[in-house]
Symmetry: C2
Subunit: 498 residues, 2 copies
């Protein structure tokens, strides 16, 4: 196999989306599959880990600006702790990996590898919180968690171990806790829209699909190019139920013991899956400049007699951009021709290529080529930094606009069961429909076409007013957003399920 | 128990160092012990996790400036992978925690919870490296690892799960790999000396105490206040042995297959243990301003008639400092008196207290009180930022000087076995002694007084020239640094042992 063949993406994004995605992940050097005996695990290579670091850095600084502190709780959770939680909530036992022996001994009590950390965090919150002075208390941790799911692996979207953050907060009042839930949801929306260039919908899960124990589960939903919805992050208001079960109480100013109102919220590396899938194409990875580890690559084009002048000028350009905090790389390899370099950097998703040949060196210009669409423009040495920055903004805007166009043209309406089934079947995307609020009506659709209600609007807005449920004809109380999603209801709450 | 009693440290640093340390860790809110059934694990509370984040941020930015990329490898390692490694190296099997069942099934092959990641990283390095163009290759990961040690827990110094980074690199040549080993060692030294204010010794481990498989193991050693040495971090040059075992090879310019020269290096949260133990005192935690999450706390002192003016002025001071990137907190709690606040912030290790009463408000001054020694000085509003910055520098210098004084006055020499035993027995600290290089001579001392050779100088320097071994009288070839250490030889290589 020649280098060129090895580099190329061979699958079609529109017709073989899954295979195309897997090929981009592997050929762009983002992740490898785990070793034999560890199917469902991936090796996160530096190019992908740098993307996760960018998400962490973006979100973590916003968390800290809004009162969140990071902590670290153990990787293991005693079985009895999980069982204490099971009294409140059931359902994730089958996904747990267990440690029964360590050192040379059988353990007295099996330890779960954390699938989520509520059950070990809660007892410590209960210890740390004594009086109203300790509230609100907000802790977050960035860790990996393990869920032994049997279904097929898709790097970043679905793996047995995944990286995420989980935040847990306790408050004096319902308004304070609900505000917290919404603040975190907003920060997740910003992460998708301002960092990843992916417009999203925000909404609430229907009653029957909430995080178990939650009073409200809010969600960020992103539309993938194949018309399916991905749950991008969730934020829950847990009422006082969780606090009552775990004794997370405080004494108020009158020395009276009160339960706290708690929230939890999480975002996983599934965000990277959405990023890769949304923007990339059949030349490989596409990244917005906001998150690209290398924002611009300089490819010099020389003949032997022009090499010295071209490289010297290219070096100056690199220096100027680096001094302005542009993450730039000068590809001065001798043993690769420019065409090879173009392909390689396109595959790897560098947003902007800067071509420099003898003409550019002579005229003190550069040629800027946008990764997403190949648009090329001349820029002057003199205004280099501002022209490059403008190019970044334009590239970001193009990616966002394309994703927005896809989203907007894929929110449709259906006022009857047949219309709903037909629209989802033909187009995918989201279908707004008047809904009575009963799970049975969702089940009826799900059984026929494997679409489900991914969200309802957070406010009273919607198309249901004055209409009857599209499925059962009873009065509609909500507007449901039906969509096919990457996983069914049981697993769609992977970010926070139990 | 009143708040005051609960806050106070009751143990003596000099006479009950271990108990005092445990008390500081718990009362300063750094860590809690794990739940029942999980002895040996700790809960890392936000105040301690912020310290770890500071270490990460310091070291990670230096790693990245010098060509290191972060990656993430799975938490689990198949048994057969560990066994492949065992052909090279033996010894950490007894410390491994095993997953035998997950989901509803017994696993076909047991999975180890990673005790260190060489055996899963190496096969991927072997895949990723094809030609000389791919070298040097440097990957690092920040994770937790699990070692099921039976001995007593000491938060940050010795826990069954601990946070660390492990770096792995591959190079074309021995000089390039040895330079890498030294560069990482230097970065560890800088972390201790410039961030943690702990002067350290750097050296090599004796032949018989190297990281198994290593050609050279280098170490950073820090002296604790009770006269014992702590191994602060290690950096290894592994020669080509590891690469040969794992097939980490490259083709050179002549298309000839060559083994790479590899290194590995690690620093764990034991650095936090050394930090806490070195500087803290019987009022609680002491931190240098370089790492303190809160560098300065403003404590306003008012009577009812002066409250408004004092608080307004204190708010201005806070704003000025925050604008200058000083991490400052204004403690304006109504229900605590200044004395209580002083004690609490001292316990928590805030390096600088800024007292503001009616006098200060009237004269546009502040009173600065240094945490380590209570030194107090007046500073003007006008030069506030520069005076506070100077105070930080002076506090740092005091802490460093005290630790340096302890170190310098505890490096002694012994030219005979009796002198060696007597000096270590009486004073602790490091004893330089001429040594023949044989393990038997170390064992003879270890059997008698539980001291060992923690390092030998990296260069030929030392006191052995022209002398005979202090223990066996054969010609001395090296200068050995004997010391008691927190753990014996087997476990002192906890940072990188197998």
């Amino acid at each position: 196999m020649t280098d060129e063949q090895e580099l190329g993406i061979t699958k079609s994004k529109s017709h073989e989306t899954g295979e195309w995605y897997a090929e981009v992940v592997q050929k762009a050097g983002l992740a490898d599959y785990g070793p034999d005996g560890m199917s469902g695990f991936i090796i996160t290579r530096p190019r992908a880990y740098a993307l996760w670091e960018a998400v962490q850095s973006y979100l973590d600084s916003r968390f800290k600006q809004t009162g969140v502190q990071n902590a670290y709780f153990p990787l293991f959770i005693p079985k009895s702790y999980l069982e204490r939680e099971k009294d409140i909530v059931e359902g994730f036992d089958p996904e747990v990996a267990w440690v029964d022996r360590a050192g040379r001994n059988e353990l007295e009590e099996p330890l779960a590898v954390r699938p989520t950390s509520e059950s070990i965090i809660a007892p410590y919150l209960a210890q740390w919180i004594r009086s109203y002075r300790d509230l609100p208390l907000r802790v977050n941790q960035w860790t990996s968690v393990v869920r032994w799911e049997a279904t097929e692996t898709k790097p970043f979207f679905r793996t047995k171990e995944f990286l995420w953050q989980e935040g847990h907060t306790a408050h004096r009042s319902r308004p304070s806790a609900r505000q917290e839930m919404m603040r975190r949801l907003d920060q997740y929306v910003d992460t998708y829209e301002d960092l990843l260039a992916i417009p999203v919908l925000r909404g609430a899960k229907p009653e029957h699909d909430k995080f178990p124990g939650a009073e409200t589960t809010t969600t960020v939903e992103a539309l993938m190019p194949d018309g399916k919805s991905v749950q991008g992050a969730t934020s829950h208001y847990l009422g006082t139920g969780f606090a009552e079960a775990f004794d997370i109480t405080y004494t108020d100013e009158n020395e009276i013991n009160q339960p706290t109102h708690t929230t939890s919220w999480g975002l996983s590396w599934r965000a990277l899956g959405a990023l890769i899938m949304t923007h990339s194409d059949e030349q490989g990875l596409v990244l917005p400049p906001t998150i690209a580890p290398t924002q611009a690559v300089i490819v010099p084009i020389w003949q032997s007699e022009t090499k010295a002048a071209v490289l010297e000028y290219a070096g100056e350009i690199e220096e100027t951009l680096a001094a302005a905090d542009v993450s730039v790389h000068l590809d001065d390899r001798d043993d690769r021709n420019p065409g090879f370099k173009y392909n390689e950097w396109e595959l790897r998703g560098v947003p902007l290529r800067i071509e420099i040949g003898p003409n550019e060196a002579g005229e003190k210009t550069v040629t800027l080529v946008h990764r997403p669409d190949g648009e090329s423009e001349m820029a002057s040495r003199e205004n280099l930094v501002s022209e490059v920055t403008t190019a970044f903004d334009r590239i970001y805007a193009k990616l966002y606009a394309a994703a927005e166009e896809t989203l907007n043209s894929n929110v449709r309406q259906a006022m009857s069961r047949d219309e709903l089934l037909g629209t989802i079947g033909r187009h995918g995307g989201y279908v707004q429909t008047p809904w009575c609020g009963e799970e049975a009506c969702e089940t009826a659709i799900k059984d026929e076409i494997a679409a489900e209600i991914v969200m309802v609007p957070l406010e009273e807005e919607g198309i249901h007013h004055g209409h009857s449920c599209a499925i059962c004809d009873n009065p509609a109380t909500k507007t449901a957003y039906f969509a096919k999603s990457y996983w069914n209801t049981a697993s769609i709450i992977i970010l926070h399920c139990r």
